[in-house]
Symmetry: C2
Subunit: 151 residues, 2 copies
DNA sequence: CTTTATGCAAATGTTTTGCATCGAA
DNA sequence: TTCGATGCAAAACATTTGCATAAAG
C-alpha cells in the first residue's frame, strides 16, 4: 500500500505533475469501477461524498492529466460525452466494447484481437501504430430475445 | 440519373421521410467529399453557396435522417465534434481510420480486417454484431521523419 | 518560498428544441 | 390539404478558461 502510493507519486512526478488528493481520488474511483465508463459529471457526483468541495473543472483537468500519464484512457460511446476507463496494467492489450443498438447498453469483450492487425496496418500504411480503439455495434442477447418474443 | 433520383426518393419514403432539396444536397456533398470527415458546421458552411438560406439546425437534423437511412455514418475523431462519411455501397465493409497522435491528421486505411473477428465476437458474446468502428492511433510517416531529424 | 492545482464563475463550442412558416406528397 | 421539414433564435449541454486562493514540493 505504502509502496503503491510511492509508485503513484513517482508516476506523477515523472511527468512533472503534482500528486493531489483530488487526482488520486479520481484515479482510484475510476479504477475501482472497472466496466463503468464514467463521464466527468458522473465522477464529479460520485466524488462529492468524499470530497465535498471538489469542482467539476478539477475533474476535467485531472482526467486529462491521468490520461496523459497513461493511467486512464477516454472513449466515446455516441452519447455526447467523453467517458473514462482505467488502463489495466495486467493487460498490455485493450478490451473492446459491444454497443447494443437497441437498448444502448455497453458490454465489454475481454479479448483483444487486433495485435496482428496492428502490425499489418503498420506495414501497409507506414504509420507507427501505438494503440487502437474498437467498437462493435449490434443487438445484445436480452434485446434479441425481446424481439423474438414480439414487442 | 433519373433512376438514381428515384431510388433516392424511394429510400426516403421507405423510412417515412420526405425528400427535400436540403437533405439531398447534404447527402451529395458528403458523398462527393469522400475522405473528408465533415462536421455539421463544415457542411453548413460549404452549402451556403448553393443554398443561401439553409439553417444549421437543418443540417443537424438531416444528418441524423441520412444516418438512419444508412446513407451516412458518424464518427468521432476526438476533437469535440461529430463527423460524417458517406457509406460506400460498393464496399460492404468499413475502412478504418489512422489518427496521428502528433499532428492530428486522419488517414484512411482501405482494408477492412474485421470480418472474421465479428464472427468470433458474435460467437463468444452472444451479441448479433452488425457493424464496427475501428481507430488506430500512432505516428504518421511525416511526423516520424520530423522526429528523426530532430525538432 | 515557488509553482502548480483548485474552485468558482464566466465563456466557449456543439448540438437540440420551440415555434411559426413553408413545401412535399 | 395535410403533415412533416425548414429557419431562426433561444435553450441545453459538455467542456474550457480566467483568476484569486490554496496547497504541494
Amino acid at each position: 500500500m505504502a509502496l503503491e502510493n510511492t509508485t503513484l507519486k513517482n508516476l506523477f512526478h515523472r511527468k512533472g505533475y503534482k500528486m493531489t488528493p483530488q487526482r488520486e481520488a479520481i484515479y482510484l474511483l475510476v479504477k475501482s469501477r472497472r466496466g463503468s465508463h464514467l463521464s466527468s459529471e458522473e465522477i464529479f457526483d460520485l466524488l462529492r461524498d468524499e470530497h465535498p468541495g471538489i469542482g467539476l473543472a478539477t475533474v476535467y483537468r485531472a482526467l486529462r492529466v491521468l490520461e496523459d500519464m497513461g493511467l486512464l484512457h477516454s472513449l466515446y460511446l455516441n452519447d455526447g460525452k467523453i467517458r473514462y476507463e482505467a488502463n489495466d496494467d495486467t493487460e498490455d492489450h485493450r478490451h473492446h466494447h459491444l454497443v447494443c443498438l437497441d437498448c444502448g447498453r455497453v458490454e465489454e469483450f475481454a479479448l483483444d484481437l487486433l495485435g496482428p492487425l496492428e502490425k499489418m496496418v503498420q506495414e501497409k500504411s507506414g504509420f507507427t501504430v501505438q494503440d487502437h480503439s474498437v467498437k462493435f455495434y449490434g443487438i445484445c442477447t436480452t434485446c434479441r430475445k425481446v424481439q423474438k418474443t414480439g414487442s
